[in-house]
Symmetry: C2
DNA sequence: GCTCATGCCTAACGAATGTTCGTGCGGCAA
DNA sequence: TTGCCGCACGAACATTCGTTAGGCATGAGC
């Protein structure tokens, strides 16, 4: 999945197992012993790799926020895109992430609440930064008359939320199914439900 | 004296406080002592009203599922509606609920996972029942050529998810703001983002 | 061959959790 | 009055939680 490749394999392993458990049961419902068992070691051995359970969540949260921001920056910087294709690519990124790395979406919208207060602040800064870029992009599109005018924040939140169900979807999809789902959601968000 | 809604006032009070805490912190992060403190009693006194913490969640979950199903049934049964206005009213119900009773949405999509296995089954049955009615309605609209054809389940999940952010929104809105937000989300979902 | 860090173990810790117990108090029915 | 019942209490319970301490094995570098 995503943990940096500079990490020791065991550490990476723990992060992956923790991420999956946090996704399935939530942070609070996942005990240190659960993570250790999934990794195949004892609970106390975790502390050879991480100073605390919260530090695992912290690492996952910030890594995820950084990945979202990096993707957004890349899309915004790409000269190959006009504004309209930019928003499509942002949405595609959200959908792809939901498929390939479902933990990210959960972290991004839910589990960060379990961070200790100080770590929460710095995470929320990254999150707000991402959302600002998102809604600024929407506002620019409104100004150019490319999308329906309105409150960019409302539209942004609605767009981000709308793919949330994918994260928790247990079903395994084939590549073709993923493409089909992606297209359907994308069409729905851009063109709407109704036939005019 | 409270206008008795079936439940004793203290019991109703506990349920309300618990619902709010479950919404804000999540079920697992809310202790029995938290609920008791919010109600103004001791933890042990809770057990004069409920046999367990889980039973509080169970009651909230099933009550919520029943409310969603009742609303859906009312909309489907109403002769005053055509199919197209039905889907609008379903979406409006979701948005209204997110404003007026934010706990419901959280329960509906998240916190039910904390139910014990046997209670989970009966809850999921109600939820599946609701979702079936929802996607059947969408399928009917597709057949009549009123909405874009596709997978009703994908569309249903996307629609339901898209208002999830409202539940956790801390801001309190005026009635006018609520109406405006509702209209913007509704337009966005039905007409899409793009200007054709 | 010695050192030393690494990674894992067993054992145990204090704190917090959900819950039970015994009790007391006030109101209502007999 | 008597007795019961609903509701509340403080104390204590067993369990689980995150975490720490101390020790043992391994293997790389001198």
């Amino acid at each position: 999945m995503m943990p940096e490749s500079g990490l020791r394999p065991r550490k990476k392993d723990i992060l992956e197992k923790a991420a999956r458990l946090f996704l399935e049961r939530g942070y609070k419902s996942t005990s240190v012993r659960d993570i250790a068992f999934a990794t195949g070691i004892e609970a106390s051995s975790l502390y050879s790799h991480f100073p605390s359970k919260e530090s695992i969540l912290e690492l996952l949260c910030h890594e995820c926020a950084d990945r979202f921001n990096a993707a957004m920056d890349a899309i915004l910087a790409s000269a190959a895109d006009n504004d309209l294709s930019r928003i499509t690519r942002v949405l595609e990124f959200h959908i792809d992430t939901a498929f390939e790395d479902p933990m990210s979406g959960t972290v991004f919208s839910d589990e960060w609440k379990n961070l200790p207060e100080d770590k929460k602040v710095s995470y929320l800064e990254k999150k707000r930064n991402y959302e600002n870029k998102f809604s600024t992009l929407l506002a620019a599109l409104m100004d150019k008359g490319l999308i329906v005018k309105g409150d960019p924040t409302i539209k942004m939140n609605t767009l981000i939320s709308s793919v949330r169900w994918l994260h928790h979807s247990k079903k395994k999809y084939t590549a073709e199914e993923k493409t089909a789902i992606k297209k359907e959601i994308l069409d729905m968000l851009t063109l709407g439900l109704l036939i005019e």
